[in-house]
């Protein structure tokens, strides 16, 4: 009786610690979404700087530099977070072709994030806006194809 109970206990605890329900394994995809959200927020803050009625244009330039530095940091973190996406792929039950597509999109996201980081470090605001749109397209493509599989 005790052995059966122990066995049941072991089975239950092992089920609770199974990868599918461990919340930490769901973190990488959420992380990249939060970095992406933060990037857009920072770009919005740059756009609304012109509405600050007392800041001189010179002071607005200083504020833009502060925000572009933050964008560079967040873009670098977004690029790193794609490692988590790639690590998650084997557990999604994809076909080899789907795996390849997902991997390709993740690597594309990484490359585009790095390019955004470079543009932000150079304070090229117009180019940053274009890169964000490109990242948006990549994210939407991946979400349309694979997001439901991560549930």
């Amino acid at each position: 009786m005790f052995n059966i109970f122990s066995l049941l206990l072991v089975l239950v605890t092992s089920a609770c610690s199974s990868p599918q329900i461990n919340p930490t394994n769901r973190q990488p995809p959420t992380q990249h979404a939060s970095y992406d959200s933060r990037l857009r927020e920072l770009m919005d803050k740059i756009e609304i700087l012109t509405q600050e009625r007392f800041l001189t244009d010179h002071e607005q330039d200083d504020e833009r530099r502060k925000y572009t530095q933050q964008i560079a940091t967040n873009a670098e973190q977004l690029a790193r977070s794609t490692d988590g996406i790639i690590a998650k792929l084997p557990s999604l039950g994809l076909t080899p072709q789907q795996q390849q597509s997902a991997l390709s999109l993740a690597e594309k996201l990484r490359e585009q994030s790095r390019q955004l980081q470079q543009q932000a470090q150079l304070h090229h605001i117009h180019a940053m806006s274009n890169h964000l749109q490109v990242i948006d397209t990549t994210c939407n493509t991946c979400h349309a194809l694979f997001k439901k599989l991560d549930r």
Partner: protein, 492 residues
């Protein structure tokens, strides 16, 4: 061999031969077609190659002047200007005009031949204001919020006022030049508030400064005020409780501190000393203090004088914290107020100062929370709008008393979406006036601003704002202003 068999064989052979002939014909025909196509492709390729050669020659011709240098310019530093073309034996070259290039900072272009980027911009702003009470003929108080000009009581002729104004329009120029000593920036900005008369548009210098690296000199916002914490209003003044939006000549050093998790910078400045002192008529009589010139009713302007006797500049120090969630600043002011009596030559002076904390904190989404809080002794000039409180008061005995002031402002900016936003601001400021001063001086002021602003694109802003402002005199009498303002701003 029987004859029939022979004939059959011959016929079979002929048939076979004909088939072969037929196959050969088809093949030949196909070969001919292929040959013709190949010939056509060859001809097209030749034409394309000839065209490419021609274009390469043209390109080489156009680049030729830039590749040729004179002996004196070989060691010159690299500039944007193409070098002077050299006349060769074989051909003459046409001097090229340098192309205009994008500058190193947003909204600028480079001056050809230099590393300097220049830009200009500004906006046209039209304000329409409906006030429940007028500040008087050609008074600044009808054009922006000026607490000292809010009528107290009712005087003959006081009535509601409509004002149409474009004085808040701006024009600015800026430049940027990199150098081994640090970036060199210059900035000049003008509006049209040079003359308080309502429909007189005299240009006024708002900013005129230059900076190299960490050192700035010229006229700009006083270091004592964290201007980024100012509320987002349509009216060109500021609220009660805000620090003054003064611009004055100054020299300032800004130093970023490294090694901290949060970006921190410290600023130290020497600024133009200018004080406002209340002086009794027995010591100095001027137009605003002469009882013969005062209105009967208490709807009079300030009674303050500018002694212009300062010996020391105003000393300001500020620490700025710039985390990702906004910015926070702490500032300290030290200044000497001094007055010399013209008749007797007696001098009275005292050191005073102030402290303030201000910040702009990011809230949900694009929303921000802004605040200022300050306390001072002899810092009235840096408090709220122009001439609300004096810096000091001189008694009949010639003793100088610094005026203690305190106040604060809170403002919340909410973005409904990326085009629509609103701001709600409350401010309050008060002064401890000595008992011997004119009882018509201000004791306390407060204001509320509420607005709705629409910016369909970044270059256009339309909005409506409601302002409630109140001032209370030493006597306890109050004056109230209610104003609705419509504004349209077009930036370029």
């Amino acid at each position: 061999m029987p004859r029939n068999t022979f004939k059959t064989l011959v016929v079979l052979l002929l048939m076979l031969f004909n088939q072969n002939l037929l196959a050969d014909d088809q093949t030949l025909s196909l070969l001919k077609e292929l040959k013709a196509e190949i010939q056509t492709l060859k001809t097209n390729a030749e034409i394309a190659n000839n065209r490419i050669s021609e274009l390469e020659k043209q390109l080489a011709q156009s680049q030729k002047p830039a590749l040729v240098t004179t002996g004196s310019q070989q060691n010159a530093p690299a500039t944007n200007n193409p070098t002077t073309p050299v006349t060769s034996n074989a051909e003459t070259t046409v001097p090229e005009k340098p192309a205009i290039r994008v500058g190193d900072v947003k909204g600028t272009f480079k001056i050809p031949g230099t590393d300097t980027s220049i830009g200009m911009g500004g906006f046209v702003k039209m304000d329409t204001m409906f006030s429940n009470v007028s500040a008087g003929r050609d008074k600044l108080g009808d054009q922006q919020l000026v607490f000292s000009q809010i009528p107290v009581g009712r005087a003959p002729g006081e009535h509601s006022q409509t004002t149409f104004l474009a004085k808040d329009s701006r024009l600015w120029f800026k430049s940027f030049t990199p150098s081994n000593w640090g970036d060199i920036n210059t900035y000049m900005e003008f509006d049209f508030y040079g003359d308080p008369a309502t429909y007189s548009y005299t240009p006024r210098l708002r900013h005129a400064y230059g900076s190299i690296g960490n050192f700035l000199a010229g006229q700009t916002w006083t270091t004592y005020t964290n201007i980024s914490a100012s509320p987002d209003h349509l009216e060109s003044g500021t609220s009660a409780g805000s620090l003054s939006t003064s611009r004055q000549p100054l020299v300032r050093w800004t130093q970023a501190l490294n090694g901290f998790e949060i970006p921190i910078e410290v600023q130290a400045a020497l600024e133009a000393p200018r004080s406002r002192v209340w002086v009794p008529n027995s010591i100095e009589k001027n137009a605003s203090n002469d009882p013969a010139n005062l209105d009967v009713s208490p709807v009079a302007d300030n009674f303050l004088t500018t002694p212009n006797a300062e010996r020391y500049p105003d000393l300001v120090a500020r620490v700025n914290f710039k985390p990702e969630w906004g910015n926070l600043s702490f500032a300290a002011l030290g200044r000497q107020i001094r007055y010399t009596q013209a008749k007797t030559g007696l001098e009275a002076g005292s050191w005073g100062g102030g402290l303030n904390v201000a910040g702009k904190i990011n809230s949900l989404g694009l929303d921000t929370f802004r605040f200022m809080a300050h306390i001072g002794n002899g810092a009235g000039r840096y408090t709220t709008t122009t001439n609300t409180f004096e810096d000091a008061a001189l008694s009949e005995q010639g003793d100088l008393s610094l005026i203690k002031t305190f106040g604060g402002m809170v403002s919340y900016q909410h973005w409904w979406n990326k085009q629509w936003r609103s701001n709600l601001t409350y401010g309050y400021a008060a002064a401890n006036q000595p008992g011997f001063v004119n009882p018509l001086l201000n004791q306390q002021v407060q204001s509320i601003h509420a607005n709705l602003i629409w910016s369909p694109i970044s270059q256009t802003t339309l909005g409506m704002e409601y302002i409630f402002a109140e001032r209370e005199l030493v006597t306890g009498q109050k004056g109230e202003l209610q104003r609705i303002q419509f504004s349209a701003r077009y930036s370029f």
